[in-house]
């Protein structure tokens, strides 16, 4: 029992951090929107999704991000600080600011896309997995 736990722990420790494809894709949401057949059937795909997002609990989606990513998104997108200013505020290198900010934006977009899928009754997997 204990050994199984330790093994699992060690295994997790050894495996490189899994980065799924969606996580490195720029403009995650837009790519999903363009790839969605169902949205196209519903009219202008961009409009349908932006409309859904306007009804979404965007604040809850932002609040759901891990702190480090949320801080970067708030400082850049809500408060308008430059990367350099954010680096000073958070006391991290510029590259870290960029990776946290971009990853945070993608996570936020993913949360908003999932919301749009639920409310617009799109089939799961619509818009393609990964790629």
């Amino acid at each position: 029992m204990m050994n199984a736990y330790v093994d699992a722990y060690r295994r997790a420790d050894r495996e490189p951090e899994v980065v799924d494809q969606e996580d490195v894709e720029e403009q995650y949401l837009y790519s999903r929107v363009r790839a969605s057949e169902e949205l196209r059937r519903q009219g202008n795909p961009e409009e349908v999704v932006l409309q859904a997002i306007m009804d979404a609990d965007v604040e809850a989606a932002l609040a759901s991000l891990p702190d480090a990513f949320r801080a970067a998104v708030i400082l850049a997108d809500l408060e308008g600080f430059t990367y350099k200013e954010i680096a000073r505020i958070l006391d991290v290198p510029l590259g870290t600011v960029m990776s946290r900010l971009f990853r945070g934006r993608r996570l936020l977009q993913r949360a908003l896309w999932e919301y749009a899928l639920r409310t617009r009754q799109l089939p799961p997997g619509e818009g393609g997995e990964g790629r």
């Binding site: 961009e46 932006l50 997002i53 306007m54 965007v58 801080a71 708030i74």
Partner: protein
Amino acid sequence: MSAVHCEEVVRLLWQYMDRELDPETSRLIQEHLRLCRDCGPRHEFELRLREIIRQRCAGQPAPEALRRRLRAMLQAL
């Protein structure tokens, strides 16, 4: 069309929107966005999305760790 390709524009779009690119690259991307039928709408979508997020999340409290850090910085001034 222009000296910058769609892939490059997609990769740099957020930095462009954040005004974090050098003036020359920024100008090339601006020109590309004006002419490209794929990248232009992509940019437009990102702008509108960002505006919705800004409007809907104004006043969202910063994470506690960030608030503590900002307070400490202010005290050090």
